[in-house]
Symmetry: C2
Subunit: 337 residues, 2 copies
């Protein structure tokens, strides 16, 4: 089934068929209909190879993820990929997924699809080694970063409204009459975590709530459940009167929740807890976790849209979009007793 077959069936030239496919306006409605019918009847799909050959485009987008992000049990980045895959349909793209080591090797290699020029652009999701970013830059391919922004240069990116999320989470607690509110974080140099913390501080400030060293624990090495447990332990020691906790992500929130329970407090009666991410188990934990929902699939979707714009406009103007978050009220927060 080639364009020739369609042309023959519709009794037109192959050029006309091509024009119809590309929605060229200078084709009469009549022939357009004839051709479209033929296309449908023959179940014709243009050959991507032939198209690629003349257009010098592949129609593929590379999707780069670190191995641990891809394999980790909370399917955060897999959700982003899924959103991208989905949106790719609307732009006739195919997505080539590949993983890279999380830490730069001495001999960092670029993904094969970059070396072989088998993609028109690249989506990089999550933090990746600096080395990779600089290697990628040498190839002057359009790049869209998701949930990550390389320092020191203008880039196109799709980002989470971390500041807004931190703000909303905190204001939710404030509205529940909490005044002694603590932030639990780890890996605080990571921009996302830092911005959540900033939103937290901003909200406290906006409501004239004092803030001091007893109101945050941010020196954990990572943002795992275990770190959440440890951070909460420290917090309860230095600030026993705390009535609400905003954890920088759901994992830490669950760790904190466990610790709080182990120490004999109940959630949310004694202490309210808010997380960030809205992972799957936040819906089924006991109590169900109030958290800031991040529209994961939408992140991927927006990344593809942005890539499409980049690819269409020859002028490579970098541009960032921020996707909104949403406060999901569940049962881990309550009015201060």
């Amino acid at each position: 089934m080639t364009i020739k077959d369609v042309a023959k069936k519709a009794q037109v030239s192959i050029a006309t068929v091509s024009l119809v496919i590309h929605n060229n306006k200078r084709i009469s409605e009549e022939t357009k209909l004839k051709v479209n019918n033929a296309i449908k009847e023959l179940n014709y799909h243009p050959s991507r190879s032939a198209r690629g050959l003349v257009s010098q485009k592949t129609g593929n987008i590379g999707f780069i993820l670190t191995e641990n992000h891809f394999l980790r049990s909370e399917p955060f980045y897999t959700q982003i990929f899924l959103g991208a895959e989905f949106e790719a349909h609307n732009h006739e793209f195919y997505i080539l997924l590949t993983t890279v080591p999380a830490i730069a090797k001495s001999k960092t290699k670029l993904p094969r699809f970059v070396l072989e020029k088998n993609v028109d652009g690249i989506i990089v999701a999550g933090t990746v080694p600096h080395k990779l970013v600089s290697l990628l830059d040498e190839h002057s391919l359009p790049i869209v970063y998701v949930d990550y922004y390389p320092e020191g240069k203008e880039s196109s990116a799709v980002l989470i409204d971390n500041f807004g999320g931190g703000k909303e989470a905190t204001e939710h607690l404030i509205q529940l009459h909490h005044r002694n509110i603590a932030f639990l974080g780890g890996d605080i140099t990571h921009p996302s975590i830092k911005h959540r913390f900033d939103g937290f501080k901003w909200a406290l400030d906006a409501h004239a709530i004092p803030f001091d060293n007893n109101n945050y624990i941010v020196d954990e090495v990572d943002t795992s459940r275990e770190s959440g447990y440890k951070a909460a332990e420290k917090l309860l020691k230095i600030n026993p009167g705390v009535t609400a906790i905003f954890a920088c992500n759901d994992a830490m929130a669950f760790g904190a929740m466990q610790c709080v329970k182990d120490e004999g407090y109940s959630v949310p009666q004694d202490i309210s807890i808010v997380g960030f991410d809205d992972v799957e188990i936040a819906r089924t934990s006991d109590p169900e976790l109030t958290t800031i929902a991040v529209p994961k699939q939408e992140l991927g979707c927006e990344a593809v849209r942005l890539m499409n714009r980049l690819l269409e406009s020859k002028t490579v103007t970098s541009h960032s979009v921020t996707v909104g978050i949403e406060l999901i009220k569940r049962n881990s927060t309550a009015v201060k007793q």
Copy 2:
């Protein structure tokens, strides 16, 4: 950088370059060297579009996964994908990953890459709706199934040695002098589970160990941790003297372990437990879980190899390969007290 540039640089014709690339034997060592040097110096990579156009192949392989398999927290299928991605390098394939709904919709649609003929073959990992299998069959594309085998027709597949695994797990317990050994299963109509159970029974039989209704619980609806807990509860009620448990997978093993502990027994002193899969946390649980390791990446790797063979031999002879398993002895099993 086209084949022409290489030809010019190496002072030969483009045909010669092409022949060198394809390792044609009737090229002198001398020109081969000249050409290969030129290729390296120019960092030349053949255009896939041009190749595809003439060879009528895309160089792509489709990888189909159900959505819940892709998103589930235990990265079993993501590991398989990774193995496939990795092996794809060696055969110059690109892999297009896509997910399908786990339950057939009224209007089940084939993945886009099938409809648009943008793949040379398809790898299907894990159980998928029957509807999808039959739709796929209409397209006469080479298909390799992984960890799944559609009923009622010859297919190429890469399978796990479930029987052997069940056998080894059970024999391990027998060697530790256990005689009252139970099997915990769920979703028993699933071939993989059934074969593990078969291996269990075979091993008991081979060692002349009696087997009756008290030695298995297989009526759980699924193979989750919760089901493992429930199954163990039932087991301890009907068979209080049990000293060893073989759970059909690690999730159920962990559930069972929890239950056994909650009931006041200790693992492995009172009761030994063996799982199946070797998930990540089996290494870090308390006690660390003895289990049957499934080489997940190897499954994907073998799938690509098999696909490659299918694609090379015109005669589409379906063929199955079974990858071996390995007993990993950790601390959840011990000699019977």
